[in-house]
Symmetry: C3
Subunit: 139 residues, 3 copies
Amino acid sequence: MWIQKDITLPQYSRGFHIITDEVIRSISEVKELSVGIIHIFIKHTSASLAINEGADPAVRIDFETFFNKSVPENSPDFIHNDEGPDDMPAHIKSAILGSSLSIPIRNGKADMGTWQDVYLCEHRNNPTRRKLIITVQGE
Amino acid sequence: MWIQKDITLPQYSRGFHIITDEVIRSISEVKELSVGIIHIFIKHTSASLAINEGADPAVRIDFETFFNKSVPENSPDFIHNDEGPDDMPAHIKSAILGSSLSIPIRNGKADMGTWQDVYLCEHRNNPTRRKLIITVQGE
Amino acid sequence: MWIQKDITLPQYSRGFHIITDEVIRSISEVKELSVGIIHIFIKHTSASLAINEGADPAVRIDFETFFNKSVPENSPDFIHNDEGPDDMPAHIKSAILGSSLSIPIRNGKADMGTWQDVYLCEHRNNPTRRKLIITVQGE
């Protein structure tokens, strides 16, 4: 059994945001599966996906702080600057964090750990609404 | 055909460790599959999974050295410090390395390269035993 | 329906290279699938795979510049140096970027975003021709 859905996320500002509910809500058919995989893909090169701690909002702030320092804007190193100083760092952050996630299904649920949530990692100052493709397979 | 197994790993200390055998041993049904995918998921936000060089233990030491320098502890930048100085760096290292792997199956085996092994990347000083979910699909 | 193919890529120099066409060309059966997943796995520990911007070649140059600065060669930190100064940095870059990708299939095509392409990330000075395993499942 295959399920495939498109999601256009709400407008999120630059930073790290929990989108677990938006993802799960779009694939209610998972309830009927005893085993499977949820695959989440972001169709962009300046935003990414990650799984991490969802309980303390400070974690997401620290993520943004760390990645801004680790991949600095206005670096004289970068030659691709067409869309502003946040452009090339956004591409690099996206590649480091990745453009897809896959999560096991067990007994009708995404079987993540207690503290795990799905993050949208938005790396642009003025992003568009981001598009995801969710592909589920299971039985 | 779907197979799904839980593994609780032995207690590993902070650092990078090879767990290929523990993973493969838990899914002996792979022997019967001519093609498929092994999906490995770690249910934690302060430990991660990677595939890398398994022959020389020095590589794993260098990994620990590099990531400790790259994501420093006791940074005044971090506001999430509830569980000590290794807490927030562990979350960031986990997101960079990732919480899942997927490996192709061919002719009854995980078809990795000669030098590839599965790493548990343990980022905490006093970790619990880590839980994995292994999901296999194939025919 | 499962499809599995081996590709040996042409010789690429150190740096970031677009290989989307080489991957897609090898799996023409995808045309017949309405939904599915393409899984791409690199059988090496010093080269990796990523999805990122394919339109402007400057992006790929900036990727190489960034990762060389971020994971420096000739660091006195590294004890694994058997194969030269590019050896250990190549392992670390590979783990950060990752050894596999998975891309959704919709209506007979890899359903990536407008600007997304598949990168081979070659981290060695004198690499061999790199081997990929492409595993497709769908219906």
